[in-house]
């Protein structure tokens, strides 16, 4: 017997085994820790070595990013902690650039760290511990949701079997269990947003960066997505950084919990 994967609106319950669940189209199991993943104790030790005191989730120290004459980020300084962190600003404010700098995806000036890890030098380790839901569509043509999420899990270092189990679990959480074998190309905008959320969750991250997760959604889908997001800290144990230019999205999520 294995623990049924966590899902919004449901209390944890005991479900079927992995094979039985998948054959029956039911919920798959959700392993608590992947192979080779660092334990919380090890993570704490790494954090202690890195900074000697408990690090903030995110620390910015004169973080700057310029594209030629354009200043995208101007000497940002902050220490940020919390369970649901809204990153709010108009289009072009620098929100997506900040997230990409934090993930170590683009070079920058100054210093930034996530979970005590330097974005400049330990980006890969950060991405092992942070889930990222990008603003743009990032799908491979012809792939189903299960295939994409499994692939994302493998890219994070999970063995294929475990990646597939986690993909089923993440898609179940995101409410896509019935459509998970269909090609993403045929999905609605709302379903595509849910797939992006699922692929960000597949490696059981400690923090989730969500870049404009409600873009293109109608009001009801937007509310559904925000409910899903707001429950993540409690259900999945991860902190949320929610980037949006929509005030109701940020305040709605932050005030849900």
């Amino acid at each position: 017997m294995t623990q049924e994967p966590d899902r919004p609106g449901q209390s944890g319950s005991v479900g079927a085994s992995s094979a039985t669940a998948n054959e029956a189209g039911g919920p798959p199991p959700g392993p608590s820790m992947r192979s080779g993943q660092t334990s919380p104790a090890t993570r704490s030790a790494i954090g202690a070595i890195e900074t000697s005191v408990a690090p903030s989730l995110i620390e910015l120290d004169h973080l700057a990013k310029r594209y030629g004459p354009i200043t995208a980020l101007a000497e940002l300084d902050a220490k940020i902690d919390g369970k649901i962190i809204g990153l709010l600003g108009p289009n072009g404010a620098g929100k997506s650039t900040l997230l990409k700098c934090l993930l170590g995806l683009i070079p920058h000036d100054g210093r930034a760290s996530v979970l005590g890890l330097s974005s400049a030098t330990r980006g890969a380790e950060i991405r092992d511990r942070v889930g990222y839901m990008p603003e743009q569509e990032a799908f491979l043509a012809g792939m189903s949701a299960v295939e994409l999420c499994t692939y994302a899990g493998e890219l994070s270092g999970l063995p294929r079997t475990e990646a597939m189990q986690r993909a089923h679990s993440a898609l179940y959480y995101a409410g896509l269990e019935e459509k998970r074998y269909q090609a993403i190309d045929g999905y609605s905008t709302g379903m595509k947003q849910r797939v992006k959320l699922a692929q960000a969750l597949v490696h059981d991250p400690e923090i989730l960066f969500l870049d404009e997760p409600t873009n293109g959604l109608d009001p009801r889908s937007r509310d559904d997505m925000l409910e899903l997001v707001a429950e993540l800290p409690e259900r999945r144990g991860c902190a949320i950084v929610l980037s949006t230019h929509l005030l109701p999205t940020s305040s709605g999520c932050a005030t849900t919990r």
Binding site: L60, T71, E75, L76, L87, L88, G89, A93, G94
Partner: protein
């Protein structure tokens, strides 16, 4: 967090955002009657007042003043204070205030 033009404009909670104007000196006061006269007298001692209904006054206290000024003034002119609350901005107004000077 609120960003604008590549800069961090605000870091804090929503409550802090809405109360970031030094809100303890910005009050909404409900009186039994005669809000206009109450506002006039408070204005004479340095407060900035706006009468929003016959029984409600929006008050910005002068520097270093406390609610003691409100109650003392009310007692002096015989106005009955029925309610007093720290005035809070809407999230929308607070957001616009934070980014407004650079918008």
């Amino acid at each position: 967090m609120i960003m604008h033009h590549g800069k961090l404009r605000f870091v804090g909670s929503i409550d802090e955002l809405r109360g970031a104007r030094g809100a303890d000196s910005e009050l909404t006061i409900e009186v039994k009657a005669d809000a206009a006269r109450f506002a006039e007298v408070l204005g004479a001692v340095g407060a900035t007042c706006k009468v929003t209904s016959p029984v409600v006054v929006s008050v910005d206290l002068p520097a270093n003043a406390t609610t003691e000024l409100v109650f003392r003034t009310a007692k002096e002119i015989g106005v009955q204070v029925r309610g007093i609350a720290v005035r809070r901005e809407s999230i929308e107004a607070a957001f616009l205030r934070v980014i407004g000077d650079a918008a």
